[in-house]
């Protein structure tokens, strides 16, 4: 690694930032006294949808090494949306439990995008003459 210009951020970097922000927002809400609210979850649903659409839209432009990770991230972001929808229909302890599922999904999506970034960087590095 280390051969790429760090000032150039591509779509994958922006999607990574979006998934990191989504995880941060969900974990902040979960850590609040009283836990996350349904209003919080509605906002997360929008963020998850936007990140999933960006990731899907970028698939065709991704390096082969990164594609599978991005596709996995899309799956996780869709699971995030599904669990948010389920959370919105639940209450009490079931609601808080489903929030933890949403958090786990968001964490997994951030991991997958991060792995895509690593694959992209590694591929770029391998192409660069040492």
């Amino acid at each position: 690694m280390g051969k790429m210009d760090p000032n150039i951020k591509d779509s994958l970097d922006h999607i990574r930032a979006a998934t990191q922000e989504l995880h941060g927002a969900i974990s902040d809400a979960a850590a609040k006294r009283g836990g996350a609210t349904k209003a919080d979850l509605e906002a997360f649903a929008q963020k998850a949808k936007a990140a999933a659409e960006s990731a899907k839209g970028s698939l065709s432009t991704q390096h082969d090494a990164a594609k599978k990770h991005v596709a996995d991230a899309v799956t996780q972001l869709e699971a995030t949306q599904k669990h948010i929808a389920e959370s919105l229909k639940s209450s009490g302890q079931a609601f808080q439990t489903s929030v933890q599922k949403v958090l786990a999904d968001a964490r997994a999506s951030a991991q997958k995008i991060s792995e895509a970034v690593a694959a992209k960087r590694s591929a770029a590095s391998a192409k660069t003459p040492k």
Partner: protein, 187 residues
């Protein structure tokens, strides 16, 4: 290579400098950091992991995850006690508590030291991270300049360990971005 690392520092402030430096290396595309956490061991040997997850069940889960990761980094000798001690690490969120079984127990410590030499001593702090790196020198050089000692295990090695259990896949409990609690306002 996809590796897990533990960078041990003699004090908490340095550990957070190390955490910041790690994410700077990521920003410079020198390495890719997938997740990080900071763990402390106080003078009495109690563990504490810095987390914002205050929900008791989640704090315990984080503790189990990070505890398991400490065990995985310590090698097979540390695995069982790392996982066992993890629940206590989780319970320590927001305040250290003692743990019954931990990596500091003399027999475990000696065995772990023989295998990987990774031990978090009393009063020390460690940055735990899940990273992809094509070369180890960027992290090693930067952390050494901050006074840290780097311990590293390949993710594939950890998964090959016979005691590895999917339940303890630990990276889910590492923050996928730079998280510094407000109690450490360094930057």
């Amino acid at each position: 290579m996809h590796n897990y690392i533990a960078v041990v520092f003699d004090d908490t402030g340095k550990a957070y400098e190390g955490l910041h430096a790690l994410w700077q290396l990521d920003d410079a595309a020198e390495v890719t950091v997938h997740g990080t956490a900071v763990v402390h061991r106080d003078a009495l040997g109690n563990f504490q992991v810095d987390t914002k997850e205050t929900h008791p069940a989640l704090a315990t889960a984080v503790g189990v995850g990070v505890g398991a990761l400490l065990g995985l980094l310590a090698g097979p000798a540390g695995a069982a006690v790392g996982a066992a001690g993890g629940a206590a690490i989780g319970a320590a969120t927001g305040g250290a508590v003692g743990i019954a079984a931990d990596l500091g127990r003399a027999d475990t410590r000696d065995q772990a030291a023989g295998e990987t030499r990774f031990v978090l001593g009393n009063g020390q702090s460690a940055v735990i991270a899940d990273v992809s790196e094509d070369w180890t020198s960027p992290i090693d050089t930067r952390m050494r300049s901050l006074g840290g000692t780097v311990y590293r295990r390949a993710k594939s090695d950890m998964e090959d360990d016979v005691w590895f259990d999917d339940y303890y896949i630990p990276n889910s409990y590492l923050y996928p971005y730079e998280y510094i609690p407000s109690s450490y306002p360094l930057w």
